[in-house]
Amino acid sequence: MIATLKYAAIVGAAGGLAAAYVLHGWWPLALPLAVVGALWVWGSWHGRRWPADAGLLLLAVAAGGGLWLGLSAGESFLAVVLTLSAWDLDHFHRQVRGELRTEAIARLERGHLLRLLAVDAVSAAVAGVALALRLQLGTGLAALLGVLVVCGVGEAIAFFRRESD
């Protein structure tokens, strides 16, 4: 099941984003996206890790860049969610199909899917609320978020320093 979901997510992310680019008249950019998706499927089939990492990076950039090219926020958001899910499932599938014996595979799969589903659902809910309320990012809010991000990154660095001591 994990494999099916993984391939569906990769095809959905890359194919959906390419289709959105075509619909908005940017078909020359759709082709590289389809290639990225194909490469990811190929890499995933052969158990390679780097195509998944490259896929996450390129599709996230493409989703963000699409906002300037006429893609709607919903389309880009959906592409990012599918990309994240595909990247996660690719890793999990590689882990469980490795050379090791996997015990309680059903429980591992169920736990993992539930967690991923929860992340996706909460993100979708937050995004839905934000889009419905049409929140505008003013300078003040941007500055506030910027401060929060800087604080968050600082905390993260401090956390990892503590852990590695």
């Binding site: 882990q95 050379e99 090791l100 967690r115 996706d120 993100s123 889009l131 990012l137």
Partner: protein, 438 residues
């Protein structure tokens, strides 16, 4: 020794990649004042947060590795069982790997496992390995615990002291006739060179009152007036036997995966068993890279000690022990029997002669390296001629040793040692015999 602490929790590469993408989206959104871009980072932020919340606590695992009791011989399957019990917090994803030592071959079963371990749960790994002769320390067990999303992990190497000793094959060696100058106090199979109760005729002496009449030598007595003579028999005692195994690198010749040294080790094991079963006191010296000395003793326990020493015997090189000159003679009781198992080299002769001169009875059992190596030589006139010359050279060496009063057994390792020993030692009538080169 306290258990090694786990390596610190670490964020795996995935965390950093995701962090960079998230950070880039947010920064781009804030920089361009486009809220949609920040919105795209929301699923990534929640994913990172979920990973952080589910980050595993330090694992507390009890690991035991069980190896079969009793002796293990080369190539025999050895069932290994690894038991892991979680005595700490629940672990969502655990990867357990028992890295098998490179010298061992996995025949079947699983050496790794990916599972979830709730508190108190136990999992087992069962696998079968086989190995060549040797003493192996099994490496620590690798345990990796990660959060369900695989963003953080603990790595732990748990040392589970386990030692697998693969004994050498012990070929059957029936009684080996030795005749050292000195024997011990207890009755045994070795002729003691002194008269007394025994089986073999030893000599004739004057009759002493109390001698059994059936011991009187009537034929000798009839030739003398007023004199009676009594037959004497040779006492039989146990003896001190020192086995010396040559572990110098040059004594190990490998041909098609077969090792001359292995044959020598097996011969030593067979001889040790034979002498110990006969009640003798046996010691073992491994002479090569180092001196590995097993103090002389009797019985089954000593047999175990010697087999363990032979299990760990390996050819090695040392400048000090390149020649046999440094054999520590004080290890061996005076006038005892020494048995050297070595292919023999020309520079060994002086040492062997010196040992003989010190009063030791020396038997050199020499696995024949020429015919052993000859199996791998290409057929041809030149190879045959070369082999013949080498045989002649070796023959000269062995004959000179025999002439020095050293028993020499030239052993083509293709034939069982027992057969060669019996054929060689049973033929000559005298205790002074030297065994002929075949």
């Amino acid at each position: 020794m306290p258990p090694p602490s786990p390596r610190p929790r670490k964020a795996v590469q995935r965390f950093f990649l995701l962090g960079v993408v998230t950070f880039a989206l947010i920064l781009a959104g804030l920089g361009s004042l486009r809220g949609e871009l920040v919105l795209l980072a929301v699923p990534l932020v929640f994913y990172l947060a979920a990973g952080l919340l589910g980050a595993p606590l330090p694992p507390a695992l009890k690991v035991t590795r069980t190896l079969p009791g009793g002796r293990v011989f080369p190539g025999a399957p050895v069932a290994v069982r690894l038991e892991v019990v979680n005595e700490g917090p629940a672990l969502p994803v655990v990867r357990i790997a028992d890295p098998v030592a490179p010298a061992l071959e996995v025949l079947g079963g699983e050496t790794g496992l990916l599972t979830a371990l709730p508190l108190g749960r136990k999992v087992e790994l069962n696998y079968t390995v086989s190995a060549r002769r040797g003493a192996y320390h099994l490496p620590p067990v690798h345990v990796t615990v990660s959060d369900p999303l695989g963003l953080f992990c603990w790595e732990k190497r748990i040392a589970v002291p386990s030692r697998l000793v693969v004994y050498p094959e012990v070929p059957r060696v029936r009684r080996v006739d030795i005749r050292p100058q000195g024997t011990l106090a207890y009755a045994g199979p070795v002729p003691a060179r002194r008269g007394g109760p025994g089986i073999e005729f030893y000599g004739v002496r004057d009759y002493n009152p109390g001698d059994p009449l059936r011991w009187v030598n009537w034929r000798a007595s009839a030739r003398h007036d007023q004199a009676l003579f009594t037959n004497e028999f040779e006492q039989e005692r146990v003896a001190d036997v020192g086995l010396i195994l040559d572990t110098r690198v040059r004594s190990d010749i490998q041909v098609d995966g077969d090792s001359l040294f292995e044959h020598a080790v097996q011969a030593t094991a067979g001889l040790a068993q034979s002498f110990l079963n006969a009640g003798n006191r046996v010691g073992l010296l491994l002479y090569g890279r180092v001196l590995d000395w097993t103090f002389p003793a009797y019985g089954k326990v000593q047999q175990e000690r010697i087999l363990q020493a032979l299990a760990r015997a390996a050819p090695g090189e040392s400048m000090v022990f390149e020649r046999l000159d440094n054999i520590p003679v004080r290890f061996f009781p005076p006038r005892s029997q020494l048995i050297l198992i070595s292919p023999l080299f020309p520079d060994d002769m002086a040492t062997l002669v010196r040992l003989r001169a010190r009063g030791y009875a020396v038997l050199a059992i020499s696995p024949d390296p020429i015919s052993f190596e000859g199996r791998a030589l290409p057929a041809g006139e030149a190879a045959a001629l070369g082999q013949r010359l080498a045989h002649l050279e070796r023959g000269v060496l062995l004959r000179r040793l025999q002439q020095s009063g050293i028993q020499v057994l030239d052993w083509p390792v293709g034939r069982p040692l027992d057969v060669v020993l019996r054929a060689a030692l049973a033929r000559a009538p005298s205790w002074q015999r030297t065994v002929g080169v075949e």
